[in-house]
């Protein structure tokens, strides 16, 4: 008998081939279904929000909507017409209100509120992560880890309410209260990523340090932490993104403030708050603030992530 590759196919060859093809198709479809909303949302924000972007949008704070002057072209954005307020043709284009302000106060506010939260959270999260990863498991580590996981899933409005009751009712609305509320949502991210990243550092490095008579803390801070740094920085960025995007806790703490403010003890605006407050503004042109704010927020989070990737990739190439 002549040997042939084709003839050597086992009896269930067709069956296995069909199953393989079906599974592949299903996987591709499922992936597309999962990714489509993400791409759609991001794309919509970028296109619609991006069209709202002028330089003045980034350099001005809020300005009350004004009636458009005779002959002024209303630089609306594609979203206006679709936002429910149907314009009556008889009103004529000039009767519309124009939003001439920007979201600078929101950008500054988001930076200050999230930045302040980061300053508080990074040392705490790092220490807690080191504690969980490097020290032997006891009931304390079990409790800390459990608390972190619970906090990760905690509804942010609950954290906002707690901050409201404990802080705001006594001290009034303030950016600082907003930062403190955010810390609760950011600390688990940093703690757990730090722990996971430290656990990825090979034992051989710790062994070598121990064999030189190094105490645990010395090995941790001079050898193990630096080795895990890129991963830890990613965790910090994730926490920043989470904090920058949170709205609910800020409604009850930082509250919002139409003018540019640097006073952390007073109310302050933030980009997610702007998005929240202006999506249902009675002035359609003010929806620009919501879309533009969403766009700027997306850009800040995206930009920070890309920046970190580039920096860590660079130091890794230099390092390894």
């Amino acid at each position: 008998m002549i040997s042939s590759v084709k003839a050597s196919a086992p009896r269930n060859y067709r069956q296995t081939t069909t199953i393989n093809l079906t599974m592949q198709t299903l996987l591709v479809v499922a992936t597309l279904l999962a990714v489509a909303p993400l791409l759609w949302i991001t794309g919509y924000v970028l296109v619609v929000g991006g069209s709202a972007l002028k330089l003045s949008f980034l350099t001005k704070d809020y300005e009350a909507p004004e009636l458009a002057t005779e002959g002024e072209v209303i630089e609306g954005f594609p979203g206006v017409e679709h936002q429910g307020f149907e314009r009556d043709e008889r009103d004529g284009p000039n009767l519309d209100f124009v939003a001439r302000g920007g979201v600078l106060h929101g950008i500054v506010g988001t930076m200050i509120i999230t930045g302040l939260a980061l300053i508080i959270v990074v040392p705490i999260g790092l220490m807690a992560g080191v504690f969980l990863a490097e020290y032997p498991d006891t009931w304390v580590t079990v409790v800390v880890r459990f608390a972190c996981d619970v906090l990760t899933g905690a509804p942010s409005i609950v954290v906002g309410v707690v901050a409201y009751v404990l802080l705001v009712r006594h001290l009034g609305f303030s950016a600082l209260a907003g930062s403190l509320a955010l810390t609760f949502l950011m600390v688990p991210t940093i703690t757990r990523t730090t722990e996971e990243m430290l656990k990825l550092v090979p034992m051989t490095i710790r062994d070598a340090a121990t064999a030189l008579g190094s105490p645990l803390w010395y090995a941790t801070f001079t050898v193990v932490l630096p080795a895990a740094l890129p991963g830890i920085v990613t965790g910090v960025m994730l926490a920043f993104a989470r904090g920058a995007g949170e709205t609910a806790p800020l409604i009850l703490t930082a509250f919002g403030n139409h003018t540019l403010s640097f006073d952390v003890f007073g109310p302050m605006h933030a980009l997610p708050l702007i998005v929240y407050r202006f999506t249902d503004s009675p002035f359609p042109s003010e929806h620009t603030y919501a879309w533009g704010g969403a766009f700027v927020l997306t850009m800040i989070v995206l930009g920070a992530n890309i920046l970190v990737r580039v920096v860590t990739a660079y130091t890794q190439v230099k390092g390894r």
């Binding site: 490095i205 062994d207 064999a211 008579g213 010395y218 390092g319």
Partner: protein, 285 residues
């Protein structure tokens, strides 16, 4: 040097403290007594009794999983760094019980250094910093003193001439063999009495291996060396004494034990234990 043999031959020994293990005029000895390492509840090795003479190379051979690494890590109290691990029995460094209450394991490890299969060199740090890390940890900060220590240690590790003009370069530039010698220099820089090696050549090519072997032979005159190796030829080439660990095939618990210790030539030409015989003739392991 006063050895047990000369004492038994009736020669006049140096003054010995009572009860403590035999002391030596030069170099430092390890004496292992009824040592049993545990991982949690599981016993890793049957009780070990072993004398490691000063300024000699003691090879530890045996098949995988018979507890060579575990036993070695007990010799400088590294074993207890593993979660749940503990040790019964004792190890003496000269006249000092390193498992006695109140002995700081960190100080033990500075006296009994360790080199691993993986050099664990810090890739991003400079060659200089990799050697200086131990001395820095012990509080040496004066530049001159550090410079001298680093140079001396690199000389000892036979690496100086290869790296002297690039001390500031990151250590990742070195080859595997050079990194291993760098890790030896790093250990030498803290001035230990004894150095333990756990398969230091297992990941190296034959040329790099022979450089390490030369280095070990050169270090023997000043340090007590213990080397775990899978390479029987290596044990024959460089070691003075050989300890053989085996897992008993008949026992069902798969716990390793020390089956034979003797001069290397004796172990390989005239093994006393049938299990050793099987192992070195390639019938097991």
């Amino acid at each position: 040097m006063v050895s047990v043999v000369s004492v038994m031959n009736g020669e006049q020994p140096a003054k010995q403290p009572a009860a403590a293990p035999v002391g030596h005029a030069r170099g430092h000895s390890l004496t292992v007594r009824n040592l049993v390492p545990f991982y949690g509840k599981r016993q890793a090795v049957r009780p070990v009794n072993l004398d490691i003479p000063p300024c000699q190379i003691t090879a530890i051979i045996g098949p995988s999983g018979c507890g060579k690494s575990t036993m070695l890590r007990c010799l400088n109290r590294m074993h207890e760094m593993v979660a749940q691990a503990r040790v019964e029995g004792t190890v003496w460094l000269d006249h000092e019980d390193i498992y006695a209450a109140g002995v700081d394991p960190r100080l033990v490890r500075r006296k009994i250094g360790m080199v691993f299969q993986h050099p664990a060199v810090l890739h991003t740090r400079s060659i200089y910093e990799n050697v200086a890390i131990g001395p820095r940890m012990s509080g040496i900060t004066r530049r001159r003193e550090l410079d001298d220590l680093v140079e001396h240690s690199l000389h000892q590790a036979a690496l100086w001439h290869e790296v002297q003009d690039r001390l500031k370069h990151p250590a990742r530039m070195l080859s595997g063999g050079q990194q291993q010698r760098l890790s030896i220099a790093r250990t030498l820089a803290i001035a230990p009495d004894v150095i333990l090696f756990d398969e230091p050549c297992a990941a190296l090519d034959p040329i790099a291996t022979s450089k390490i072997e030369e280095l070990l032979v050169a270090l023997r005159s000043d340090y007590t060396l213990v080397i775990v190796t899978h390479n029987l030829q290596q044990a024959v080439r460089i070691s003075d004494r050989t300890a053989v660990f085996m897992i008993d095939r008949d026992a069902k618990d798969y716990i390793g034990s020390l089956v034979e210790v003797n001069d290397t030539a004796e172990v390989f030409s005239n093994p006393q234990d049938p299990r050793t015989q099987d192992y070195i003739s390639g019938r097991v392991g």
